[in-house]
């Protein structure tokens, strides 16, 4: 027997860490129990869910091919909304990203303003932005483009701002030392370092926006959602099926296109 005090026991976490973790688990458990107990689920609706689902798929097939010309027209519109919205978002987000980057802007007030714009833009869902813009500009693609753009500012700005903060100071100092002007430093100092990040952010957001712009039509903001809304309101499930199949195909194609572009240019 040694008398050199207690044997040391290896513990993975400090007591404080363990208390913190336990607290999170306990709060999470309370939140789940609270939600599960107060939420009302009507069991009668559940009994016939399997029949309803089977019925749903039976009604969808065969697709109503006669609806295709309208679906195609709104699909093209969806594509334009997503792409234009992404371009517009990038144009608005880039200056804000520079304002938000710590190595570019030293004024804390400006940085916080930019961060606040990013958080507000991301907090409100694109459908809710769309409701707002439909109220302002009336139903149509304009509202769709703007809601996609405004919703994407936060995403693009935040990620591009972080990419800017990771830019190496060396090339920028070198350019400053040659007496280069501010725009020249931007184009030849920051841009080459952040260009890969820029393209990957832009592609990622474009991919997301294609999916998002597919539902904007439900609130009247143009695109294939308009066709979906009309079909749903008329309970023409064979048209709904056609639209869902179209959206699925578009999502798969976008995924293939973005991943091939990404592997080529990044």
């Amino acid at each position: 027997m040694t008398t050199r005090g207690d044997p040391k026991i290896w513990l993975r976490f400090t007591p404080a860490e363990r208390i913190g973790r336990s607290m999170v688990y306990i709060i999470a458990a309370i939140a789940v129990v609270w939600s599960a107990r107060t939420i009302e689920i009507i069991p009668e609706f559940l009994y016939d869910a399997p029949q309803q689902t089977a019925d749903l798929f039976q009604r969808m097939w065969p697709f109503d091919i006669k609806y295709w010309p309208f679906v195609w027209k709104t699909l093209v519109e969806t594509f334009h909304i997503a792409t234009l919205g992404t371009i517009l978002a990038i144009m608005m987000a880039l200056p804000l990203a520079f304002l938000a980057a710590r190595n570019f802007t030293s004024n804390a007030m400006l940085r916080w303003t930019a961060q606040f714009i990013f958080v507000s833009s991301r907090s409100v869902n694109s459908l809710i932005w769309a409701l707002l813009f439909v109220a302002i500009f009336g139903p149509g693609a304009v509202a769709g483009v703007l809601s996609i753009a405004v919703r994407s500012i936060g995403f693009v700005g935040k990620l591009f701002g972080e990419a800017l903060e990771e830019a190496q100071a060396g090339p920028i100092e070198a350019l400053t030392a040659t007496g280069a002007s501010k725009p020249a430093i931007l184009i030849k100092g920051y841009w080459p370092q952040t260009e890969p990040a820029f393209w990957s952010i832009a592609l990622l957001r474009w991919d997301i926006n294609i999916r998002e712009s597919a539902v904007l039509g439900l609130v009247g903001a143009g695109g294939i959602g308009v066709a979906l809304d009309a079909a749903l309101n008329n309970l023409y499930w064979d048209q709904v099926g056609l639209i869902l199949a179209t959206i699925l195909a578009v999502v798969v194609i976008t995924e293939i296109v973005t991943s091939s572009i990404r592997s080529r240019i990044i």
Partner: protein
Amino acid sequence: MTASAAPNAPSNMAAAAFPPNWPKRFAWAALTIYAVYAISVLDIDFERIVRGMDNARRLFARMFPPNLQADKLALIRDGMIESIQIAILATFVGVALSMPIGLAAARNLSPVGLAWAARGLIAILRSFHPVIVAILFVKAVGFGVLAGILALVVSTIGFVSKLFAEVVEEISAKQVEAVRATGAGFGHVLMFGVFPQVMARFVGLAVYQLDSNLRNSTMVGIVGGGGIGAPLFTAYQRFDYDVVLTILLIIIGIIMLMEVVSSRVRQIFQ
């Protein structure tokens, strides 16, 4: 400024410091032409924007001050609580299901066939927007919170299990082999070889998804999936823009609070 201006450098040997990149310039030009074309196709014209600005002024005038009447606030509170509950339950169920699906999709742990099946499932779950999934669930299980929860469970599995599989694929094999060498069974290998390496990232993903579910749960109500979306949509349709503003401010406030909480939780599990 070109390099040929430098002294003692023969001009024919010096490369320009920043040579022009014609394919790239061409791509930028094409993008600009596309943007102009798309604007013309969508008939976005100046007159409409001006008219819109006029509408916007009236709309914002009607938004202020936000409506703080007791009955409206009670309605908003109930809707918001329902949205939060939808987000919590969807995250819980979705994350619980994502754990096995993510492990099944990780190619370093699961057999090839199972991994591809899990990946296929994830791809299908990811392909539709939560609102479209919500529409289908409203038809299947009726109006109400259950449809919203199920729709968000689908998107949670799609996101969390995909990223969790990627995290599991990045783990170091050494710890797994060490545990396996002690004669441990598969459950113990998972428990002591895999989970300690990925748990922090998994909690991070779950917390991120809770954030994202909270945002989406404000939206499924528009198609009948419960939560604050329904009162919000009604307020828009009745032109009660002061109520709209109150709801939007509350949503933004709660989501900002949520971001603070989630960054705290991520720190704890760092």
